[in-house]
């Protein structure tokens, strides 16, 4: 057993992990909150990406869409991450070995890195993107990557239960 695996085993055996796992409804309730958190973050990020690609909300500037939705996305992230942590807590030993879970975590990190790189490269120029044609090619590419990653995250999240 690796050190990480031992840590996961320990986590699942703690009182909180056991409590969630053995309760009749607690796991399902947390899972429902988790899905709603994902809807909040993935739904808003998808709309931002579709705006960058010039598909949705064309009459609003990219900056206005980002400004309006970024707080909702972060709120969704907080809901998703805290509920996800509790779900992981109760099944850490099993999830550590689940390939769908591992891949999902990698895609989440990539989605975060992609977003970070996007803001680093473009934050100073976003105000000038009024017409679709003025959005740089690299920003469009980042939007396509983001949409693909979030699709993968949702698909893999559901796939965890089938493994």
């Amino acid at each position: 057993m690796t050190l990480v695996q031992l840590a996961c085993q320990w986590l699942a055996d703690t009182a909180i992990g056991t409590r969630i796992r053995e309760s009749d409804n607690l796991f399902s309730v947390i899972e429902t909150v988790h899905v709603l958190g994902i809807v909040l973050i993935a739904g808003t990020i998808a709309i931002v990406d579709l705006r960058i690609l010039g598909i949705l909300l064309k009459r609003q500037s990219v900056g206005a869409v980002l400004g309006s939705l970024v707080k909702i996305a972060w709120f969704g992230f907080a809901v998703m991450a805290s509920s996800g942590l509790l779900l992981f807590w109760s099944e850490a030993d099993k999830l550590y070995l689940n390939p769908a879970f591992r891949l999902k975590m990698i895609l989440l990190l990539l989605a975060g890195a992609n977003r970070w790189a996007f803001h680093r490269a473009h934050d100073s120029g976003i105000a000038a993107w009024s017409a679709p044609a003025t959005v740089p090619r690299r920003a469009r590419l980042a939007a396509i990557v983001s949409l693909s990653l979030w699709t993968g995250i949702i698909v893999l999240g559901r796939a965890i239960a089938y493994w």
Binding site: V35, V39, L56
Partner: protein, 147 residues
């Protein structure tokens, strides 16, 4: 044909049989259902928050809902089609499931609220009611698998 007979027919139809006997069919349709839910939830919430004056404060009332209308309708249709296919996996099982029945009632009420709000009424109230009803439908949807 009663509702129960219609459920029996759908379950034994070739679509129902194909989904039930396929290894990944149900899981794949479930994933489409969830992806559509994410886009639908996003468009619904953003339109509602605009109606309540929280975001896009410079845009006139209804402008954001109109701009997101096509995406919202498309994702709703994707949820309905994938939902019917999931239902076809075991119609009799769902027919008897209390959470499923509550979910259908909440969806009917939510769609009705959305349609009526186009003709009359306070946009803010309709928006909050819509979000609440759809939230209830999502929670009931998760409960189907638990009951």
């Amino acid at each position: 044909m009663t509702l129960l007979q219609a459920c029996e027919w759908l379950g034994s139809s070739s679509i129902g049989t194909a989904i039930r006997t396929s290894k990944w069919g149900f899981a794949l349709i479930e994933m489409v259902h969830l992806l559509a839910l994410a886009l639908f939830g996003g468009t619904l919430l953003i339109s509602a928050l605009h109606s309540c004056g929280v975001i896009f404060k410079g845009s006139p009332p209804g402008a954001i809902a109109r701009e997101l209308g096509a995406a919202q309708l498309a994702s709703l249709l994707a949820m309905i089609v994938s939902g019917i296919l999931l239902f076809a996996d075991g119609p009799l099982r769902y027919y008897a499931n209390a959470a499923f029945r509550v979910k259908l009632l909440l969806i009917a009420a939510a769609v009705l609220t959305g349609l009526l709000s186009r003709f009359r009424g306070e946009a803010k109230v309709a928006a909050l009611l819509s979000v609440t009803l759809w939230l209830g439908a999502a929670v009931a949807g998760r409960a189907i698998g638990v009951l």
